[in-house]
Amino acid sequence: MLTLADLRKSYGATVAVDGLSLRVEPGEVLGLLGPNGAGKSTTVHLALGLLAPDAGTVTVDGLGPPTAPAVRGHLGLAPQALALYGDLTGEENLRFLGRVHGLAGRALAERVDWALDFAALTDRRRDRVSAYSGGMQRRLNLAAALLHDPRLVLLDEPTAGVDPQSRNAILDRILELKRAGLTVVYTTHYMEEAERLCDRVAIVDHGKVLALDTVPGLKRTHGAQAVLHATVGGEERRIPAPDPAAALQRLMAEARVDDFHVERPDLEQVFLKLTGRRLRDE
């Protein structure tokens, strides 16, 4: 669906993207997981043709480079910033963006209604966006990216700055898109989101893809494993174990276990293993 080959982009002495390559398969949700400043947004802008790479190529399968307006018509973007006009109503924002994408008449009206329904904003369609809550604005930001029914949508930190309840609502909607077979590139620095949504995850840091696999594959390959925490005779024990149940069984055979819990492996550990630092340190 989308192929990025050896992309490089620098801003003066700062290297934002450093030889990044990856391929997004049709119908998959590919996550770009990395801390702030890792080069995720620059990669998204390069993928959309909004930035010209210093080197490398971007190809939308069967269509060509995204710099051509006709190719961009098949792509959607929910920018990290809330790219909406606060003094326009939700409906006016969508109608304007629909017209920009060449929609008109009945087709425009149908897509606007669909987008408002998708964002659960039908009742607030005539309110100005500046009067919406942060979560509402994020949902509208997402719906606006889908208005023209793109084949590939790039979501750049779509849950940034929203409360947990609104985040769940947004993630549920993205899962709907996934079930509908839409191809999604999803950037985030929240490992929980990547684990919940993504078929594959690319760990990105300093403009490079450090690892790219399914979530279980990443954990397996990069040594992340479960940790059994047990209290034995008042003493806390931490036991890394690929199979925590078997480890617990062995421990109980040796001594009385007063308490225990299992720390599941996660992408944070993978990132820590790959980079030596935590995802949200920066």
Binding site: R72, A81, Y85, V100, G102
Partner: protein, 435 residues
Amino acid sequence: MSAPAPTTSTMGPVLAMALKDLRLLVRNRAALFFALGWPVLMAVFFGLIFGGGGERARLEVGVVDEDHSKQSAALLSRLGASEGLTLTPLPRGEAEARVRRGKLVGAVVVPKGYGEAEARLFHGEPRTLELAVDPAHAAEAAMLEGMLTGAAMQSFQDLFSGGQASRRMVDQAFSELETMPDGPWRAATTRFLGEVRTFLDSGEAAGATKDGAAAARGEWKPLVIEKRALRDEGAGPSSAFDVTFPQGIIWGVIGCALGFALSLVQERTRGTLTRLRAAPLSAVQVLAGKALACFAAIVAVEALLFAVGRVGFGVRPASAWLAAAAAASVAFCFVGIMMLVASMGRTEQAVSGLGWAIMMPLTMVGGGMVPLFAMPAWMQTAGTISPVRWAILALEGAIWRGFSPAQLALPCAVLLAVGAAGLVVGTWRYRAAVD
């Protein structure tokens, strides 16, 4: 999800962008005030300071008595007694010159022969008065004409109020009719004078009013007022508002252009430009939409200020077509300036600060604060570098300088050239900054 295929139109997205920006402008009260309210306030305020008038307590009217008869003196005396008029006796040339300069609402000229015509009311040439008015004060001129007619017809009413004078006039008319050749007019007038003599003898004349005059209408004209509009096209403005409204328009245009420059930067800083550039639009279409909205908004500001000036303050362009050409050229010029200013900074603060820092001195030397003709010669020369100077010259040329199309072509050409340069350089710089 299965959306219908989008249409492929070049202008559709551009128009959508323009309409969006105009809608945003209308909803931004502060921007709207500085684009519309502030320029009107400035134009009116400075117009009043410089003697533009406003609500006049009395109408200033020049009177020229070339007849020097007791009838002309009586007429002017009656006119002077009219409420709200101040009469100034003047020679004809001076009176007309003052009307041309807008110093007088009008001039009443009582030509030689007026008294004689009033004495032979029922035959010969009718009484004639001349009324020269300033077309910039149409409402006041109409009021003056009404007062003048009333004063002149008062003598007619006096005639039918009876008395020996009336009978003498009828008798004199009869005797003069006898010297004239036979004809339908003589017969009709003889019959009419007979009726008048009967009326005067009946004793009812004392109660007669203007109805008598009305009954006497027909082909016979008791009074002719020859009205002329005086406008010395090349001599100067008819009022201070002719000067302050072009200045006000320029302030509105600058406010509008800088507002759009700011909005273009906001598109970038707030992320909406990213979304627009991700759409199937070329960068030129995005910028063209902004430019179109800016042009439309500036033209709307100009039209509104022209309308306010015309309705409220008598600012009347000598030619609507030339005014439209000047307004369009000014709008194009400032769209280019808008694009250039928008490309000069990366943040709202930078663009706003830079925009005013550039436009204020250009406005000062260009006649946006002090009228061009009031500036010292060296500053007028220096002002030629300012597009504001050419904009004001174009607007003034269409309003009161009496420019011909050929004369207006120069300032319009300069404005169009500045606009084109601004568009080219600004677009290039802006695209370089966002790519």
